[in-house]
Symmetry: C2
Subunit: 710 residues, 2 copies
């Protein structure tokens, strides 16, 4: 790729970004878009709908930029919880890393690369016609002493990142403990989920739980709720809910619409009456189902609550039964975080579904190579012209070819990548996780590795699946192959950062999809649920981590990528700060459990960088340097191992020291008795709550149905 | 190798075995050998030394064979504990497997192999001149349909072994729980070891432990003992002990020996007086050191005892401190099982020593290839003749060449292998384990994998280390390479079973080394310690497992190995039964913790067999069979995964159900108060016990020094 193609891509994307920012500045002030741009403020009642028109509404104003920039960590913590803080710290972590890397890269490595003559000499007369390769390590002469500068840069960056990772892990651990210590008594701290409950003949699950825990934990056991299978009921409730919304909508309409033919040859019927009758029928069905469901106990799972956090933690940590596949305990999620639909019963079935998900992930990865190969075809214009000769005339236009090579490939990839997070979330959800947070964490991991494999490795080793696998089946050749293939794709990934990174951030700000949805629903005059959205961690964390991986691996190969990454990170910082204020509200609190994923991905990036460095220095004929790089991945992995021992346990469970202290603090709390009472019903399945859609209009506005139905 | 060479080897070894058995039958009846052959009976006082001579003592009698054969599991359990039962069950497990495999192998596979003509047709006129390859799968014609018989045999044996493994794991788990349930209160059930105790300035380790546990576990905490570094003290004590033994020895001698010149120009001195003075000096030193040692608390480790088993288990299972590298808890070993010398203090130091041990193991493995390559030279006679031409004339003698190819190689390997278990035990001991049992378990694993790597793989892929590593760096070629290399070594391994297996068992019976030691000490007139030896699990379990691996992998390649294995196993059964009665006493009780090692090695053997089958069927041009073998390793690994979930946790720790039940049983036990009192001192370092080698002869026979000093 030539500099001119890169500049085209940068120009298009900068233009788009500015356009999105300006449009956003205007659109967010329109009251009709409040649901899209400030749902959180609306829900919190912090913003009134100003219906009065004034000119100011049409002029873009940068005030929100300042507010977003000035947002402190304390603000985010108090308003959105620790997960949001961790999310923002991922961005600031990358900012710190790439500021350091950028200074070295741009002011030291880039000049060294340019002065090399291995590929071309840089052409200052027609600067934009230079290939981007001039700025990469490929241009440094083989055996040149200046490669030791790259060597030192690799060491320096590794030390810097490891130091920062250590500090960050420590900081987030301490924040996690501080968060727990300052929290009020919460149901999930006192509760565990028990699965695979053995039931003796003539006894029920409930009796079994009661007898087991009151026998072995008589002093600490409080209560339990058996989990029931309610998928059928849940469908009925959704139906009722939709009908109910339609009735409300009809009531608020002008009266001429209320009458419609409901039968082909029937009379005109009052639709409201008709729907209300239908609703009553469904309600009847729901009550019937509820009473039936409460009799069937085929999930063999129960939430068991204890009188103290320590007691619950003890039961969680200890194996309960002689048979390790019975009485399996898990930490309970927050009540509103429970993922009710999937409560697979037996130990074996969950195990099998896990295997199925692994197979599905592998299949998805293989299928996804098709678009990747397509995209690769676009970056190699010559090959495309051979495949599709009729395009030759169009592609000969300079601008078109620049768009095609510089912009289109990453855009297509971007579109395909768009569907991956929801698919992975679905796969995680059938894997047997019990909470939304666990599902998202697992999906986050899946998306991250999928991205690394399918974007990084598939692009680098573009070719068939079998070829890729064959590379990994010969581990000793990996560094050499990486050394050849990775620098060759530098220009693609620079374009990728610009296209995918910049555009995704601006479209995150602009909220394209919700905006379109909102426009549609307004046209169709449907009432919408005024729910505040939550941030899809499994979409955004892997994206940032992947850019981190690109930055770290290309840092010493093609430092030109770093300024673009820094722009991306600054944009991301501002946009997400703004979204935390205005849009997203936390759906659950994992207290920082996403950080270990980020830590692992950074360590992986470092080791990958070392493998590439090892190969590059061999290819560039500086064998001493490649030998001296060898201890670096080993030391990095040892560092990671230390961190796993030092910090990871804190993210798995709280220590007894912390739990006992917290329990003692509560002993003097007068509200604890009340809390215990509520605890008994905290984990009631919302589908089993009594429902009452009263048919009188005054009651319609306050249905008893919980909004937690999934 | 020709059949005649094998027959030579079998003849030599059978002769040796018979000789050993006959010699043993005679020697065990000589009172002077009682310490060697029936130390256990002596220690238990079940055998009186019959000093009267009679002729019966010189005639070999087979009575001991019957006693050993008739020994039941119940007898072993009551006399030697669960570990001995598990050890014997390893042998019976292999016996069951290879009886089943042997029937299939000899009556089905062997005839099929012989009827093939791929290599040679079998020569019935001069049977012994046939190559052993005639009996192996190599002789089956390529693409022959009879290979499906081998295919079915692989499936059948896998199913049989998996079923047996499942049953065995279940049986030993239940035995383990039954053993615990029927056990009396024991100190290690109530105690945990705490390491990395943080100490605040101006406070001692003891105070720190006291304040921590009495703050967080006020109702269950009982007492603690801080571990102290006593290596210097231990040396002094050993010196004192030796001196003391010498004095006793001198006292029992005729008086003329008591006087000796102690100085070149000095007077004759009463040696006893001289030594007694020296002993007093050392005693003084010991007391001084003891009082000093009890002040220094630099190990930062302590044994903490609780009032119930459940309380101790809770503390063990839960992470105690906010910082996961502080207050690290471990299950305490039995008091006499504690390995006092090594109490590495800090978290980091133990971690580093672990890394050093890994590096040492790798180095040892590489160095060990030298003898293996030498041995390989012997099996390839032609190559040896090229290397050492002067041997040509000697080697041309038929008998010599048969001994050299059939017997010498395995014997040399055997001698080198002899030093491996002690080395591995040493390496494990510096790895930071706190008990003899844990050290042996770890050494057992190390020896097993060392044997598999250095005997199996090094022999199969004889060549340089780099060649071997390069094979494992290209995983997709492993089956093909195994398929070529493994059958080629069939005759070597048959000879190995005969030499190494048969001879090692008979020499185990004969106790060659202890016998020689006993002879030496008797000549030198030194008094010996009358300690009952304990079985070196880390030497014998890997050996049996390795023969299991050989049997399973060669079962369908060269079924001729199976009868020899069965003979070995029968010998082992009888010999070890006999040794349990007469020789070995258990030093500790892990309640079956060695079984998972055996289980894993069997699973590994199965998967290795599948990999070889995969390669063989490809090489033999039956691609369908090689495709159909593919699910087998996957299913086997899934089966193993299930077993890991179903049984392994039982071997790690007892469940709360079991613990609480056991604690409740004890509540009515009147002796518990006394037990608690003893508990406080159960983990006192024997080196810190008060010593008193009184100089008066009547006290000399009952020193207060504990015999636990290592």
């Amino acid at each position: 790729m030539l500099i001119s193609a890169l500049l085209t891509s940068v120009a298009i994307n900068s233009g788009l970004c500015v356009l999105f920012f300006v449009l956003y500045s205007v659109l967010r002030k329109q009251p009709t878009n409040y649901e899209v741009y400030i749902p959180r403020l609306l829900a919190e009642g912090n913003s009134r709908r100003r219906s009065r028109f004034n000119l100011e509404r049409l002029i873009p104003s940068p005030g929100w930029l300042m507010r977003a920039w000035k947002l402190t960590e304390g603000d985010i913590l108090s308003s959105s919880g620790l997960d949001a803080v961790v999310f923002m710290r991922i961005i600031t972590f990358c900012l710190k890393v790439f500021t350091f890397a950028g200074i070295i890269g741009i002011f030291v490595l880039l000049p060294v690369n340019c002065t090399g003559t291995q590929l071309h000499q840089i052409d200052f007369t027609n600067f934009t016609s230079n290939s981007l390769d001039v700025f990469s390590i490929s241009n440094v002469n083989n055996g040149s002493k200046s490669l030791w500068i790259h060597f030192s840069a690799v060491y320096l960056l590794t030390i810097f990142i490891c130091g920062l990772l250590y500090y960050e892990y420590m900081y987030i651990s301490s924040q996690r403990i501080a968060y727990f210590s300052s929290s009020k008594p919460q149901p999930h701290q006192f509760t565990i989920l028990v699965r695979s409950i053995p039931v003796s003949a003539g006894s029920s699950v409930s009796q079994s739980v009661e007898s087991f825990f009151s026998e072995y934990y008589p002093t600490t056991y409080l209560s339990h709720i058996v989990v029931r299978r309610t998928s059928k009921l849940r469908n009925l409730l959704n139906e009722a809910h939709n009908l109910y919304k339609r009735i409300i909508h009809l009531r608020s309409e002008p009266s001429q619409n209320k009458f419609k033919r409901v039968q082909l040859f029937g009379n005109k019927v009052d639709l409201v009456d008709h729907y209300e009758k239908k609703l009553e029928d469904i309600e009847q069905n729901v009550r019937l189902e509820q009473s039936e469901a409460s009799l069937i106990e085929d999930t063999r799972a129960a939430f068991v609550s204890f009188k103290s956090r320590y007691a619950a933690a003890t039961v969680f940590h200890m194996r309960q039964s002689i048979n390790p596949t019975h009485w399996i305990t898990e930490q309970a999620p927050e009540p509103h975080d429970v993922y009710w639909p999937f409560f697979s019963s037996s130990f074996m079935r969950r195990w099998i579904s896990k295997l199925i998900v692994i197979v599905a992930c592998v299949l998805l990865t293989i299928l996804f190579l098709i678009p990747v190969v397509l995209v690769q075809g676009l970056t190699n214009l010559n090959q495309l012209e051979i495949w599709l000769p009729f395009l030759k005339s169009v592609l000969s236009i300079a601008f078109v070819s620049q768009v095609v090579t510089g912009y289109l490939p990453s855009l297509i990839l971007q579109c395909f990548l768009f569907v991956i997070p929801p698919i992975m979330e679905f796969l995680s959800s059938i894997q047997g996780y019990i909470s939304h947070s666990a599902i998202e964490k697992s999906a986050c991991n899946k998306v991250l590795w999928f991205t690394i494999w399918n974007i990084f490795f598939a692009t680098v080793f573009s070719g068939s699946v079998l070829y890729q696998i064959s590379i990994f089946l010969e581990p000793k050749n990996i560094p050499a192959k990486l050394a050849v293939a990775v620098p060759a794709q530098a220009s693609f990934f620079i374009a990728y950062v610009v296209t995918s990174g910049w555009t995704s951030t601006s479209s995150e700000l602009f909220r394209t999809i919700p905006l379109l949805c909102s426009l549609c629903t307004r046209c169709c005059r449907k009432s919408t649920d005024d729910e505040v959205p939550s941030i899809p961690y499994h979409r955004d964390i892997p994206r940032i981590c992947f850019f981190g991986l690109l930055g770290i691996t290309y840092f010493f190969l093609a430092p030109l990528i770093l300024p673009f990454l820094l722009v991306y990170l600054c944009l991301a910082y501002i946009v997400f700060s703004n979204q935390w204020i205005n849009v997203y509200a936390p759906k659950y609190e994992t207290a920082g459990k996403f950080w270990p994923i980020v830590h692992n991905s950074m360590i992986f990036s470092l080791v990958l960088m070392h493998a590439i460095a090892l190969g590059i220095f061999t290819v560039k004929k500086v064998p001493l340097a490649s030998t001296l790089v060898f201890p670096l991945p080993i030391l990095t992995l040892l560092f990671n191992e230390y961190c796993r021992k030092r910090f990871l346990p804190i993210f798995v469970a709280y220590s007894s020291e912390v739990l006992i202290k917290k329990d003692r603090e509560d002993q003097n709390d007068a509200t604890l008795a009340e809390f215990y009472e509520n605890l008994a019903n905290a984990y009631q399945d919302p589908a089993l709550m009594p429902i009452q859609y009263s048919t009188s209009s005054e009651n319609l506005s306050s249905p008893l149905l919980s909004s937690n139905v999934v």
